[in-house]
Amino acid sequence: MGKYIERQLVFIEKSTYIYRVVHRIMEGDCQMDHGPLLIEAGGFYADKYPVTNKMFYDFIRESGYKPKNSDGYLRHWENGIFKEADANLPVVNVSLEDAKYYATFYGMKLPSDRQWQYMAAGPLNLKYPWGNEPDYKKCNVYSDGLTPVDAYSEGASPFGLYDMCANAWEMVDDIIDDGWHRFTLLRGGCYYKGNNYWHAEGGALPNNSHLKMHLLGNAMDRNNTVGFRCIKEAE
């Protein structure tokens, strides 16, 4: 292949933003404040692309990272390395813990749920990264697998961030603990959608939507449709 997508940062301008999430509520509810909340967002740099297999491989090589428990960890890799054809696909089968190690190693962090929405919707509060209408030609959705993170340039967000709708879900920094449960939130939807009403809703989700994902640990927290991107505070 020979051409790997490099990490790039894009500045996210600071603005006031009304954060509000509206999404399908499964049984069990989603125990957090969904707004509307007037917040200050932006003023940081964000990954232009989700972290790819190649980027994560580089991280492991540079950091020597080994998860405490490796169940399900990078299970789509072979012999400790990604398949060459997958180099520019978003890295998946990593846990929130794995992702946070990656971010910390590079002096970054994962965006919060509020930050992620602003990154995708922009100051004009677009419904989808590219505009207010669904357009399945601008993202990888209802397909058979992941695509390279730069495959849909027309689907970029107002800040120029790629792949914020569908392809792979993106984890955010939030871990909510209500005393009984631990869960995080997934953003953007993904190419895959379960075949039954009772499956968690995948597909191309709008910017103001998220999915509650209960955490349990080990392989249960590593999904082959879930990746992440990072942000870096402006100096």
Binding site: G28, D71, G72, W198, G217, M220
Partner: protein
């Protein structure tokens, strides 16, 4: 006995419970239909039917009698009257089928030859049915789609399913005298489940939906006749001498006569009968999962269960609503559970050490593209084999492939199948021997589940998952009133919905009472909504099959305590009465029971 007087144009039909005179001199009328246990003349001079067609009403008198045939075979007698209206291009065939014992079936068949070459809308109404009575005054009516309504107007009998009609249990219309003794049971034998207007010729199902006197008076049933004489409407009538209790028992007998309940008699499956408090635990919560050790904390869960009297079974749930984020299916989730299937096996072993049975879930709707019924059954059997679990919770599955039961039987004996909903049809009810009595009505009292009384060997613990504190009080009353085990489900897929200490204590008491009197509560012939003499008081009766004990479960839905003579015993030879649940006083005077039942409480009185 059937006697045809061709001169008078009447037919007399008699059996042990009924006597009827049918007159076909001008259409078809019922001259009388009497209960032979009494001396009252009932249902005199009633037109049998009206048809509404092309905006006009027709009675049977608008048809000419083409032929009348009477005869018998070794077990039944038959009178058939053929009616014709050439203008309408309609034939009616009305049968009176007497089983020579206790029952008369009136079968109405319509053949429509489509006078314009087109099927027109047609509606049926029976004045005979609309005015069906015993005495004409002071009669008690029990309507088929819930005869009793609470003070708030809610139906007290809940059908097998709340939202759909495709179940086989359809209660009769019962009319009794004021003493609840002499009366009639009128059943609508139904062969079609479809409620859609015009979907099938047999429209009895519409009549099974009658739930009030007004609906009875004004019934109007769409018919979808074609040019064949299929059954359109049928009344199956029996004379009663012991009122509602007899009618219910008769119905249970008729309904169950089509079933083979041998699965319920299997000794290896009967461990479930000794269980009173069931737990459902969502493994993504601290009720049962330790996030530090990443393992199920069996000891912690069972310790918390002691407040309820101890959990007898635990259903562990690690899938929905988590499934669907990626392509992993339910089988993968067992593999990916921290520690994999070995950890689940270890967990099951720990529960077994504490004499607690374990159910694992099976989600019929979650299957990968490459799975078939066969592979799903294999995967389920393998899971049960590998983990040592005792049963399968079939989720929303209301039926099961025959192969599943066979595959599980090969794993080992004693694997119990249960489901979140009652099975509705014959074979599923025969092989799924338990299910949850789950409902969505959070204000569930006074209410009973009809299946609990029709098929009492199908033990179904009570549950309404979204009950809050006030509703949970009703839920506990509901379980106790119908003498059901209960499912304790506090972590509803990520939402914590706890019981209060007082409620836990009440369940603990109920468990003890239930198990100590199990043989009465699990009797084969419980009677729901037994007649009582106080307003807003409801009663279910559980009779031990050997006759040694009767338990009267009483619920006072009123705002004030009920005191005094509340009911007449089923068995007048009983000599002693005692309170076994609730706070009350009781005294037996002859066959009459005097008691105090506190407002909004359930009391169980054991009579021996």
């Amino acid at each position: 006995m059937i006697s045809h007087d061709q001169n008078a144009r009447t037919i007399l039909i008699q059996n042990q419970t009924l006597s009827a005179v049918i007159n076909y001199s001008c259409g078809v009328t019922i001259d009388e239909l009497n209960n032979r246990f009494g001396s009252i003349k009932s249902n005199c001079h009633r037109e049998l039917l009206n048809l509404e067609l092309c905006g006009r009403q027709y009675t049977s008198a608008d048809f000419s009698v083409k032929s009348v045939i009477t005869g018998s075979d070794k077990t039944r007698e038959l009178a058939t009257i053929l009616l014709q209206n050439k203008t309408l291009d309609l034939d009616l065939r009305i049968h009176f089928l007497n089983n020579k014992k206790d029952t008369l079936n009136i079968i109405i068949q319509v053949a429509d030859y489509y006078k314009d070459g087109l099927p027109h809308k047609m509606f049926f109404h029976s004045p005979f049915l609309a005015d069906f009575e015993l005495n004409g005054k002071d009669d008690s009516y029990y309507y088929p789609d819930c005869f009793v309504k609470s003070r708030s107007g809610k139906k007290v009998i809940r059908p097998v399913r709340e939202s759909i009609a495709a179940y086989d249990i359809k209660l009769p219309l019962v009319v009794c005298d004021s003493e609840n003794k002499i009366g009639f049971s009128l059943r609508f034998p139904s062969l079609s489940d479809l409620l859609d207007e015009g979907s099938t010729q047999n429209r009895n199902i519409m009549l099974t939906k009658i739930s009030s006197g007004e609906e009875l008076k004004n019934h109007r049933v769409p018919l979808a006749a074609d040019n064949t004489f299929n059954d359109s409407i049928e009344f199956e009538i029996t004379g009663l001498h012991n009122g509602w209790a007899e009618a219910f028992e008769r119905y249970r007998e008729i309904w169950s006569s089509n079933y083979d309940f041998s699965e319920y008699k299997k000794e290896d499956l009967r461990w479930f009968n000794n269980c009173a408090v069931h737990n459902f635990t969502f493994l993504y919560g601290r009720e049962s999962f330790n996030f530090d050790s990443k393992a199920v904390d069996v000891g912690k869960l069972l310790e918390s269960g002691k407040e309820f009297g101890g959990y007898d079974t635990v259903t562990v749930w690690n899938q929905y609503p988590r499934l669907g984020v990626d392509q992993r299916n339910q089988w993968d989730f067992h593999d990916d559970f921290p520690g994999g299937r070995e950890a689940l096996k270890k967990m099951v072993d720990e529960f077994h050490k504490e004499n607690v049975f374990v159910f694992l879930p099976y989600l019929p709707w979650d299957h990968g593209d490459d799975e078939s019924t066969n592979t799903m059954g294999d995967n389920l059997a393998e899971l049960i084999k590998e983990t040592g679990a005792d049963g399968c919770q079939l989720d929303t599955m209301e039926s099961i492939p025959e192969s599943f039961r066979k595959k599980l039987n090969k794993v080992r004996p004693g694997i119990v199948l249960t489901a979140q909903k009652h099975p509705m049809k014959k074979r599923p009810l025969e092989i799924i021997t338990t299910s949850w009595d789950e409902f969505w009505d959070t204000e569930c009292m006074p209410q009973i589940d009809v299946l609990r009384f029709i098929l009492p060997c199908h033990i179904a613990p009570a549950l309404s998952r979204w009950c809050r504190t006030e509703d949970k009080k009703l839920l506990i009353n509901y379980a106790v009133f119908s003498a059901e085990p209960i499912v304790i489900w506090q972590d509803v897929f990520g939402r914590w919905m706890p019981y209060s200490a007082e409620q836990k204590a009440k369940i603990k008491t109920w468990k003890s009472v239930y198990l100590n009197n199990k043989y009465a509560y699990q009797c084969l012939s419980p009677i729901p909504l037994y007649p009582v003499r106080a307003k807003d008081l409801y009663c279910n009766v559980f009779r031990a099959d050997d006759g040694s004990q009767e338990i009267y479960s009483l619920y006072n839905d009123g705002d004030n305590d009920v005191e005094g003579d509340i009911l007449t015993l089923l068995d007048s030879t009983k000599r002693s009465a005692s309170i076994i649940f609730g706070n009350s006083r009781v005294e037996l005077k002859g066959e009459k029971l005097f008691a105090t039942i506190p407002a909004k409480e359930v009391v169980h009185i054991s009579v021996r």
